[in-house]
Point group: C2
Chain length 224, copies 2
DNA sequence: GATCGATCTGAACACTGATAAGATCGTCAT
DNA sequence: ATGACGATCTTATCAGTGTTCAGATCGATC
């Protein structure tokens, strides 16, 4: 129901953009750019209430549209959420790439990317947790899988440099293992933080301050 | 609604146990030991369908009882799930303790506990993920928080030994950081595994085989 | 200018958790 | 022994969810 409409819908939306009225604003029986409006509303809702507070009907309500309307643009609620997860991975890839820039040593670059990963999650907790909730996403979406792997490629390249800098011959399996190690650690640290497991450790209630002060030390101590 | 009934209910259940008929089996208008039966049914459902497939009504159905019955034994669905999460942390603590036994060096002990943590999650994926879904649990349950911290204490003691074995003076802050590091890594590794992010890396489709072969290598390489 | 298809509505269906009034039954005091 | 009381369970109801589908609407194309 989606793929064919999709392209036409985008073309139609582009044509409408030239006319007065913002995209996403209701103007009559037909919305004009409902797909984009739904995504925006869903992102807002996700930011406000997290992945658990999400509701497709609430999204429709915010877009000023009936409960059945989203079905014409997304195969299901998971379809809409998958779209948001994909753009989330895209943004994460950008953040990781930015973190890689301007670091002289591979170790610094590795540390900067680890910190960037956690910062990304703290910046958008709802979206980040969604990205790793396969029960809320389309299980076989190729674009989602590609987006996820693309983001990780950023990390992989850094690990390869780091490994090369250690003098020893670069073994692919070793690179993978180190990649898994750093990814697992920052991911676990972020998940545990977002789940509130570290709140007791936060100095004056600010978990962000705790993360900013401790995480770099932890990463540097583990991969000097 | 719970606390006062709770004790009396347990006493009543103990008296009933002496009589014929297994606990948890329906025998009349009154169940006899519904609280335990609900927990058991919930654990089964959790094992079958995971935290997302959970439904309080389905649990009541499996216990052969009406949808409103659970309300007399648990304050809400979160109350029941919190109970299961608590026993989950208790079991995790036991597994971690077992892993600590019979390891000569602190490094071996650290590695064994890390592997035990991941094994626990693979053994009971639904329950493990529940334990870190604060949106499904009672947010201010003291017993839950204590159970979680108790499990982590097992790890903390090992880290202290490991740190002491390195010859340097044991700094509490350093112990905490190393504890966070190892916990984050195994936790993240487990989460990513359960989320299917490593399926592509599994040799012949068996993610368990992949974990068993790679995880020890990763841990040993990171904390030798 | 008529037609066709994309888009949206509104009502349904099958679920969910929670709540409250009433039925049932064990237990304990009289 | 007999009430009465309170714990337990049923039943019905409420508000909410995702999904589906017939029909209304309207833009674009022929």
């Amino acid at each position: 129901m989606e793929s064919k409409h999709c392209i036409d819908g985008i073309i139609a939306a582009l044509k409408k953009k030239a006319r007065p009225g913002r995209a996403g604003e209701r103007r009559g029986y037909h919305h004009g750019d409902l797909r984009a409006a739904l995504i925006r509303a869903a992102e807002e809702l996700l930011a406000e209430r997290g992945a658990e507070g999400f509701s497709l009907r609430e999204v429709a309500r915010r877009a000023g549209v009936s409960p059945g309307a989203p079905a014409h643009h997304f195969s299901s609620a998971a379809g809409l959420l998958t779209e948001i997860a994909i753009s989330g991975f895209d943004q994460l890839a950008i953040d990781l790439q930015r973190a890689a820039e301007g670091n002289v040593s591979p170790a610094e670059r590795l540390q900067a990317q680890g910190i960037a990963y956690v910062r990304y999650g703290l910046k958008q907790p709802g979206r980040f947790q969604l990205m790793f909730r396969h029960d809320l996403l389309l299980p076989d979406d190729d674009r989602l899988h590609v987006a996820g792997k693309t983001a990780m490629k950023e990390l992989e390249e850094t690990v390869r440099l780091y490994r090369a800098g250690q003098g020893r011959p670069v073994d692919d399996a070793e690179v993978m293992r180190l990649c898994l190690a750093i990814w697992s650690m920052v991911h676990g640290f972020l998940q545990l933080t977002l789940d509130g497991k570290f709140t007791a450790l936060a100095p004056n209630g600010s978990i962000d301050a705790f993360v900013v002060s401790e995480l770099p030390t932890i990463i540097k101590a583990t991969w000097p």
